[in-house]
């Protein structure tokens, strides 16, 4: 997954958590980068028509951005589910985060042929718990 897709996924999750535009601070926390880096990337995504940005409010995905964010989150869900169900990795969240930049969506699609993923994926992804709420190992909701 490339950096732009990782940003789009983070904006999608932040919008869901904040129930509105994604603030620079939240995105910097999710992505573990500086607010300046976030602002620079938001500018580039805005130029590409994937994000709308309103000063002092934050970033929102356009329809095209939303579609790409959905795909990126789905790829992430495949990686998490594969790690926990096939490789039985306990720290699947932390590992998925380190692997997502190296795993392409075509590779994730192949891994998807051996995992049982809910049809509503990625809507069942819980941003607060950073995992699919349908995964047993995700644990109870707060």
């Amino acid at each position: 997954m490339n950096t732009a897709d990782q940003y789009l996924k983070a904006i999608y999750l932040a919008q869901r958590m904040e129930d509105g535009p994604a603030s620079t601070g939240t995105l910097a926390d999710i992505l573990e980068v500086s607010p300046a880096s976030v602002n620079e990337m938001i500018g580039k995504l805005e130029e590409r028509g994937l994000v709308d940005h309103e000063k002092y409010k934050g970033a929102s995905l356009t329809d095209e951005g939303l579609e790409r964010a959905h795909d990126a989150l789905q790829t992430y869900c495949i990686i998490e589910r594969f790690l926990t169900n096939v490789l039985e990795v306990e720290e699947f969240r932390a590992e998925a985060r380190t692997l997502e930049s190296v795993i392409d969506d075509t590779v994730a699609d192949r891994l998807d042929t051996i995992i049982d993923r809910p049809e509503e994926c990625p809507d069942c992804f819980d941003p607060e718990r950073d995992c699919c709420e349908r995964l047993e190992v995700c644990g109870p909701a707060n």
Partner: protein, 164 residues
């Protein structure tokens, strides 16, 4: 979250090589399933060229798997047994409609494997981390496998083109 493509630890490297092994096992298992999924009369009709391609693909994947497993052993990690992946393929398998579908699936297998090794090589080269195994041997093995996947893509494409 980790931005930027880079393999920064033995643990991450071992995990990616494990994923490579699983991808090879998926290719091997799906090739075997494709042959078995066809009813006997259709199995006869699958021409020798396609049958050979599937047999070769399964053999090549088994060979790649062994080479990856040798690297993983040096990192003190384990791999998932073929039987386990075969059972997972079996549980989700839907046979392609016809020989063209089989070839298309095979093309996806080879292209995906090529992309995986290509990204992995880039991510290793982008990192200056020292691994528990010899970096040159690692990159040489992965580059050889990538080359064979590239040849695999060309081979399937050629068969698809002259069948069209």
């Amino acid at each position: 979250m980790s931005l930027g493509q880079r393999v920064s630890s033995d643990h991450q490297l071992a995990r990616l090589l494990q994923i490579g092994v699983v991808l090879e096992e998926v290719v091997e298992s799906r090739a075997a399933h494709h042959l078995e999924s066809l009813p006997p009369e259709k199995r006869e009709a699958v021409d020798e060229e396609v049958r050979e391609l599937l047999v070769e693909a399964a053999e090549e994947s088994a060979d790649h798997r062994e080479r990856l497993e040798a690297l993983i052993a040096d990192l003190d990690a384990e791999t998932v047994a073929y039987e386990e992946i075969n059972a997972l393929v079996d549980a989700q398998y839907g046979p392609p409609e016809d020989t063209d579908g089989v070839l298309y699936d095979q093309l996806c297998n080879e292209e995906t494997a090529y992309k995986f090794y290509d990204d992995l090589i880039d991510a290793i080269e982008a990192s200056d981390a020292e691994y528990a195994l010899d970096r040159d041997r690692l990159l040489e093995t992965l580059s050889e496998i990538r080359e064979e996947e590239k040849e695999g893509v060309e081979e399937v494409t050629e068969i698809m083109e002259h069948r069209a």
